[in-house]
Amino acid sequence: MHVTQIVSEKCTGCEDCVFVCTLKAIRMEGGKAVILEHCTDCKDCWKRCGDGAIYSGEASAAAAAGPQKSTEDWRGVLVWLEGDDSGLQTASREVLAAGRRLADDLGVYLEAYLVGGAGAARDAVFRGVDRVHQRAPAATHTGLASAYESPLLGLIRERHFEIVLFPDSLPSWELAPRLAQRLQTTLYPPVSALTVDFETRDLLGTIHAYGGAYFSEVTTGGARPQIALVRGSAFPETSADPSREGEIVQAA
């Protein structure tokens, strides 16, 4: 695997590196150079780049951990859901709807990590989840992070979801930042609108700034997975279709 990396803030999009690369291992994405898998670290581009935007990621812990490998290695959408036997919680249904839309836009599966009973798992499938990783709620006195953090981390690392969505709730705030830190990635503050850039597959969200006095459209600097919190009442729920099929597996 190559160690050559692009510092995307420094990249001016001049395409000098694309021109100099005889292996055609550099591609422009969203105005920035991206190193492709078949790069052999010949260093021609390092020498050519006048902006100091290309460097060796060899020593970088970030590169070793994976997230910055390449955005192409990351596919699929995961949502965090909670519910009981009567079905999913409201916030979970909204997150599910947001995830379903993104999965459709990107042409990928929607998976869910569900804390709840069988009824909730069925509800999740009926409302559009393709695969539910279901587990029973843990008895926890010290917070959700201690109970769900590592199974969730394991699942994300194994499946390489490009997008992970949480509702805007205390459990999410307990979990999502910790996951994001361990995965060395971005966590979007609660978003009220979500789209993707089809070329880069970067997530574009709208967040409320200063208590709603302003809105900001935000995106990632390129890291994967893109973890986002979903604002309540911002995404209309999908309706439950009992004929819909999906897989339910027991999660750790």
């Binding site: 010290t142 709730s169 930042p177 830190q181 971005t186 700034a209 995106t219």
Partner: protein, 233 residues
Amino acid sequence: MRVIVLLKQVPDPGQIGVSRTKGTLFEKGKRILNPADEHVLELAAELKSKEQADFVALASGPEPVVEVLRRAYAFGADQCYHLVEELDEGDHFAKARALAGAIRLIAKERGEVDLVLAGKGSPAWGAGQTGARIAAELELPQALWVAKLRVHGRELEATQLAGGEEQVRRVPMPALVTVDPSANKPRIPNALLLMKAFKREVKKLGLEELGLTPDAFAAGSTQVRIVRTYAPD
């Protein structure tokens, strides 16, 4: 008991505007201490008097950030540290990694840290993520949005406040706690302490000292990048 308080300097919400042509927020006035952090300082001051806690404050960012640390001294902080860095403000991953590094260094210098305190959030984006990220970096248990905090020996009894509901958590120390603004009413600092704060030394830390090279920060790919900001019509 040793408490480290994390302080953030933020744009004054009453002193911002948005440029229509550039789609960016601009700041008209001086930055202030994050209002939520006043409650953190108050809690730390209370722990100092009730538990004889060693009260340490840490803020990171460019030079003017040192001003918020004066406020910590005015609240009675024993020592303040300024981690001088110019990381992107939206790069929570990098900020958390840097702050965690600083906390480790301070623990080495002053002794084990039992409690890391941070504010619930900031005016700009509401609830914050840096606290929990730091907890992950330091492998600490956490309690977020805490409205009441009691110390029982080596254990914290934290009452979390979410959606108007209270939830009691027991968390062993060392731990990280973010403080809900309902936790207390920040005091008006004593004028003499306030003046002395200007003469107290703030220890400077640099990323190199923490052993953090640019590589440690995932090259900025982890930032929440603002594309455009606008006022709703």
